[in-house]
Amino acid sequence: MSELPLLELKGAHVRYGSEGSGVSAIQGVDLKLSEGQCLGIAGESGCGKSTLSHLISGLLPEKTHLTYDSFNICGQEAPALGSRAWRKLRGSTISMIFQDPIGTLNPFWTIGQQLKETLKFHGISTTKANSTSVAGEWLEKVHISDPGTVLERFPHQLSGGMCQRVNLALALCTQPKILIADEPTTALDVTTQKTVLDLIANLSKESGMAVLLVSHDLGALSERSDKLMVMYAGKAMEWGATSEIMTSPSHPYTRALLKAQPPISGPLPDKLELIHGQPPRLSKQHELCPFLNRCPSSIEACQKTMPSINGKSTHRRMCHLEDN
Amino acid sequence: MKASSPLILGLRRLFSQPLACVSLIIIVIVVLLCFGASLFTSHEPETQHLWAGALPPLSYQAALMPIQEAELGKKPKLHPALKKFLELKFDIQKQTYRELRVALHDGKIHRMFWVEGAIAVDHLLIEEKDIVRQRFREGPLGKDLPALELKMGTFLPPTFGPNPGPVIFLRFYSAHIQKEKVSISLEKGLVRDINLNGKALELWKERAENILSVEANGKPIQIFHLLGTDKLGRDLFSRILHGGQISLMVGGVATLVSLIIGLFVGCLAAVARSFWDRFIMAGVDVLYAIPFMFLVILLLSLFSRSLLMLFVALGAVQWLTMSRIVRAQVKATLSLPYVDAARLGGAKLPSLLVRHVLPNISGPIIIYCTITVPAVILEESFLAFIGLTVQFNGRSLDSWGSLVHQGVQSIGSDGEQLWILAAPSSAMVITLLALNFLGDGMRDALDPKEDHV
């Protein structure tokens, strides 16, 4: 497996609106994704993870103020926002699936028509007969038991889980190198969530495809991702190998998040440890650590400067506290 | 984040839109002008100044009545503007005339006679030096005629135009212009003395057509017409303001009628059981199929043409869409959790509707009303245009639509007297545009999706 990163982003800043009154959705985020890896992005609402996934897939609106030190996809510099070059990248190199399974499919076209349109646009199969059989094959790959019938169905006739599998087929039939899954299972049942996430894991292992999995479900991320990045208010708080972060979280926010979940096994705590206050909704440019006002372990240094990035190479964080 | 009520937030959004603000100001000005008409103009909309005819905008004329009368010791019959003065001077210039009537049959001259003495005439030659003017049936004097010949049994000369009517009125004015100077002095509102060219008189009567000017204390007393007059000499500004009262009232009240009926039917359908809901809405669908202008015209023709009837007829036409909107909104709101919570608290249906549903559906309903008002005004204008004006005590009340109709009829062959059409049309266009832009602004401001930042 090659070590060349498929995706490399350094120092990304995203701002909506004007200098004084705008919203800084992302403030200085680095990202690296290699072949066969699954990178999980965790965080609550307003942390900027959705903006990040839109940034990487080139879906940010043209007027967005975006700056970065470097942004490379498969070794080449990424096109500018709104450029037509993104259309070539999407589908062939980068594919996406989103949160609302039924809403992301065209309600007027059958599943078959939508699959065939994608196959035709990317030149994968051009004849009618060929595209029908290829479409059917992909439906089978995502474990849809009766592809022939489903090809003739409309999105509203299928369940959420079925639609999300169709979306997965649509995303993968062009055999992209990177799959961006932005909260793919939030709207689904627990059993369906497992099915979809299993499919993503298996299919990516087969083809060596890299996956960027954005979710607020830490449990799912802990199981599925190799590397993890925990975001808060537009900045990355802690990132590195998932197993290391989960066994010994070193950032107060990650720790608090993990403690705030009722455990599924093991002894029941008397009280859940609360993080008081709420996640910030509109982010201004941070001068200090954004978690300061809610952090249970803040020290004097936190009131003075933005924390530096420290930690070992596989497990880094942005915090003033000593790593124990 | 400011914690103001949704109403205040909505109003703030509305006032942040310049077009909506300008439109609101325009509408307020129009409403104040029309309903405060008597404050802004001293003219009455029906007062005719036939002798003056159609005057262009920003013109003056002497303060006159059709007939001026002064009798010693009695109150004078003069224009109200003159009554406060003590000394009045009239400058009179008139020509005596004889009137000839020409009756036509099948386009040919059938009978001709002098009105004075009823003297019949067979053949008449009009020469250029004669001063002849053609008088229209109900209007002021028309143009001078060229030399022509009128002979019994022959066709009328083409000078009189294509459709001169069954009877032609011709006035032969004498070459001699009579000039008179009359001065009248008043004391305590009664006539003290009358002086005609130096001679004292006890009684004086004169027609407005013959009076050139009126003076008091050496200054001419004139009345001002901001927008001119129509062909019958009626002040156009006053007519537009009074006409606006009718148009705006119809717009407002008919919309109110449609709102009330629509709310009632919509709520009924929304809370009724499925069968009755479908029944009511099927009824609405059937009513939609009826061509409404036709129905309104029928109603107005069969029943009275009073203002009330117009309100009812137009309102009854508009409520259908309102009921659909209300039903959809009420149904959607009834399924929301806070209505369930109110039910759990013990609220019954009337309470639910009044406290929880209606305040929250006001947005779309207000928006629909601001769209309905201009539509109704336009419908009423159409009715007035085709002649179905509002009637009160047997007389027609002219709304903007009738004024436009009259304006169209008044346009001369080469676009003269254009202001009689342009003024009421502009008033209507400005008001309707302002209402529509305000409606647009309200739609943006009251959109419930905007409430969450």
């Binding site: 609402s45 802990s222 009722p262 609360l274 996640p279 | 914690a3 013990g346 305040p359």
Partner: protein, 248 residues
């Protein structure tokens, strides 16, 4: 402890549909108990909750509350809903929203306002914001206000229909702790409807599992998790992510 709620052979169907949404289910809720109602979407748990609260009529079986048949909404049974953005009347202040149930109990406005403010303190909402409108509050705060409203008529049972599913993780914990505190302090019974087994495990010692309108299992939540009897329950338990980290 006596049963305040007794559901027997409950059947609910919509319209002339032959398949009932809730099919012949029976369970009991004891006074002061917290019972979990678990299942995936479409299993009928929300319909069951609505039938118990009196909002949705039922066609078969009986629901007895304090030994009386449920015929409609009753102030003793209140609900907290999942959709926090639509749980409060946007045109009323939050204090007005909270004391709304008290109107129908014949309590004067002044007394109601005092009670409302006490409730705001109990759920942890700043009193200075009594006259603010719902749009100015976050999801977690809105749920607190909904809970305050549910507490206003002093109910004996509060049904929580997925109250934390739409909230951020850090806020979920706050609301769960609030519910737990209220339950311990006031002794109100809680029927907690959810699909999230870890949350149900934390709050409810006993649970009922539903699927396709029927009850699959009922009993101790821990037993259901450790030894699920029904294959569908097994699938549900197996689908829960196994955390590989140390939480304590």
């Amino acid at each position: 402890m006596s049963a305040i709620l007794s559901v027997e052979n409950l059947t609910v169907s919509y319209g002339s549909d032959s398949t009932p949404v809730v099919d012949n289910i029976s369970f009991k809720l004891l006074r002061g108990q917290c019972l979990g109602l678990i299942g995936e979407s479409g299993c009928g748990k929300t319909t069951t909750a609505r039938a118990i609260s009196g909002l949705t009529p039922y066609q078969g079986g009986s629901i007895q509350f304090n030994d009386k048949e449920i015929e409609g909404p009753h102030p003793s049974i209140q609900m907290v809903f999942q959709d926090h953005s639509n749980s409060l009347n946007p045109r009323m202040t939050i204090l007005q929203n909270i004391i709304e149930p008290l109107r129908y109990l014949g309590i004067t406005t002044r007394d109601a306002m005092t009670k409302g403010q006490a409730l705001m303190e109990q759920v942890g909402v700043d009193l200075s914001r009594s006259n603010d409108y719902p749009h100015a509050f976050s999801g977690g705060q809105l749920q607190r206000i909904s809970i305050a409203r549910a507490l206003a008529p002093e109910p004996e049972l509060i049904i929580c229909d997925e109250p934390v599913s739409a909230l951020d993780l850090s806020i979920q914990a706050q609301i769960l702790e609030l519910l737990k505190t209220i339950q311990t302090e006031t002794g109100i019974a809680l029927l907690f409807v959810s699909h999230d087994l870890s949350v149900v495990r934390y709050l409810c010692p006993e649970s009922v599992v539903m699927a396709s309108g029927k009850i699959l299992e009922k009993g101790s939540t821990q037993d259901i998790l450790d030894q699920p009897q029904h294959p569908e329950t097994k699938a549900l338990v197996q689908a829960i992510p196994k955390w590989t980290h140390n939480q304590s």
